[in-house]
């Protein structure tokens, strides 16, 4: 649909077609509301993006998610979407402290803690229990590191074993509140890590078809500039300069941008505006995508590999420039039935401040360095002939993420923990305005964003039903 063809008035306008925005739009339409989804990019999916180059398809954010995604897709999308989800076979750690392969299931992880790290079964069990019983209302002062120290004092190897995957999954470090760790770790630590067979492109296509079936109007390359208020309540949006009337909005866009730019600090209660300004964003990422020549096969070396040359897990090591640590996702033909090419995606934590002030020439050089470092690690550690078999390489940086998703500072996982309160309080500050999307560590990733979209769609439905 084109912006000119939109209806005179909507019940809800969803700003942004990331996983949270799409899931919310689909729910609201199923509830019977008239919904318009506006997406700034020419593809849906947001950070869960894919791109096609020279016969390759690369996924940016499809490495692995918790088993809960199956149920979430079945309940809030469709059985067909849920049925594409399969378990990944193996996850590898390779760092100066240890090299381990695990399925990341409770059984195998427990086995590694007991037999490799020599922890007692009782300690493992009580640690898992403590993680599972954590919820939102617990002590928020305790950090993840303090929590680790209670169970595994002085064991920086175990801290790394516990933290590294979660760091890659949501950008958190062990300085974040322990409850954010406990909640996310418990989501992952049950039946292993899962993948969407067919890739991000199939997922997004299926979501789009489902939304269209349920009557969501979708307009691409429509950037929302303003959320309009009347008597303090949401009354419309302005997208590409065009005004569209709506009773409510659900923004999947960056939380800070939603509050401070689209609504505007001057339209917010002073204390709420202050918490929006104080709220810290998450860090960003850079990535290197490698396409392997046609006809070449890679042996199985694991689906996800956490590689680090840092002596131990220290938060600053994981956003260091140049990177010391990266995760590799290996895409075998099993990932996309009917498509036989191999690809590798390396992901690294990164900070916009290391990238934003580079001249065009410096920027290109820095990207080349990133690619070169990644190839040389692969060559030394994982795929000795990588240079010979590589056909295509490309790099993405915090600037790339900002350009495609409009996240301030290229933040790839929303905000730090305090963002949850801001997100939840938005409808109290501005009736009719809602936010759902990666925020506060616990509401990020495919599963977190989808579930948060459902939670907020319910709240918005309540608002519309009362009005």
């Amino acid at each position: 649909m084109k912006l000119e063809d939109t209806a005179p008035q909507y019940d809800a306008v969803v700003i942004g077609g990331g996983i949270g925005g799409m899931t919310a739009a689909n729910r609201l339409a199923k509830f019977g509301h008239k919904v318009l989804l506006l997406e700034h990019h020419f593809e849906l999916g947001g950070l869960a993006a894919y791109f096609k180059r020279k016969g390759f398809i690369f996924d940016t954010a499809l490495h692995g998610f918790p088993v809960g995604m199956i149920k979430t897709c079945r309940k809030y999308w469709s059985k067909e979407i849920a049925d594409c989800i399969v378990q990944v076979d193996s996850i590898r750690y390779d760092n100066p402290q240890f090299c381990i392969d695990t399925t990341y299931t409770t059984e195998d992880f427990t086995d590694k803690l007991i037999n490799f790290f020599k922890v007692t079964p009782e300690t493992v069990e009580s640690f898992f229990k403590a993680c599972q019983s954590m919820d939102f209302f617990d002590d928020r002062e305790k950090t993840t590191l303090e929590f680790f120290e209670e169970y595994f004092p002085g064991r920086s190897d175990i801290h790394r074993f516990l933290m590294e995957p979660i760091h890659y999954a949501n950008g958190s470090t062990f300085l974040e509140p322990a409850i954010t760790y406990g909640i996310v770790f418990s989501n992952f630590m049950s039946k292993g890590v899962y993948f969407f067979t067919g890739g991000t492109d199939l997922f997004v296509k299926m979501c789009r078809e489902e939304m269209e079936k349920n009557g969501v109007d979708i307009v691409m390359q429509a950037t929302v500039e303003k959320i309009l208020l009347e008597n303090g309540k949401v009354a419309g949006v302005v997208a590409n300069g065009k005004e569209i009337k709506t009773k409510s909005v659900l923004s999947n866009a960056n939380l800070k941008a939603t509050c401070l730019d689209m609504i505007g600090a001057e339209n917010l209660p002073a204390d709420f505006a202050a918490s929006c300004k104080e709220m810290r964003l998450s860090t960003s990422n850079s990535q290197v995508f490698i396409g392997i020549k046609e006809g070449v096969t890679l042996p199985f070396i694991g689906d996800i590999i956490f590689h680090s040359s840092a002596e131990s897990f220290a938060p600053e090591e994981y956003i260091h420039n140049p990177p010391h640590s990266r995760s590799f996702s290996i895409y075998y033909p099993k990932c996309r039935p009917g498509y036989d090419r191999y690809a590798i995606a390396a992901s690294m934590g990164a900070r916009m401040s290391d990238w934003e002030n580079l001249s065009d020439e410096e920027y290109e050089k820095a990207k080349e360095n990133l690619i070169e470092q990644t190839l040389s690690i692969l060559e030394q550690k994982l795929v000795p002939n990588i240079r010979e078999i590589t056909e295509y390489v490309e790099a993405a940086t915090p600037r790339t993420f900002q350009r495609y998703t409009l996240h301030k500072e290229g933040a790839t996982f929303g905000t730090k923990f305090e963002g949850l309160k801001v997100s939840e309080d938005l409808p109290k500050a501005v009736p009719g305005a809602y936010h759902a999307g990666s925020v506060a560590i616990i509401m990020s990733g495919w599963l977190g964003a989808a579930n948060y979209g459902v939670i907020v769609a319910n709240q918005l439905d309540e608002y519309l039903c009362k009005a």
Partner: protein, 82 residues
Amino acid sequence: MAMSKDEIRAAVLEIIEEIAPDEDIASMNDEEPIREQIGLDSMDFLDIVMELRKQYKVEVPEDDYNELRTLASTVAYLEGKM
């Protein structure tokens, strides 16, 4: 007309069955916490609250979520509300 206790119980079980089709609803005990008997997570719980609102126009504010711990307490809480 207000629903009887038995009708409310049946309505709640029907909702749970929709949300968790693989669970053995029939053998559930009324006095034990629901979440300890069948595999319901916090999203399932929110779905139950949502269905009560959509199907029966009952609002369960977050402060009252504890009232829905067991089947018996749920029925008692909902009596007169639906």
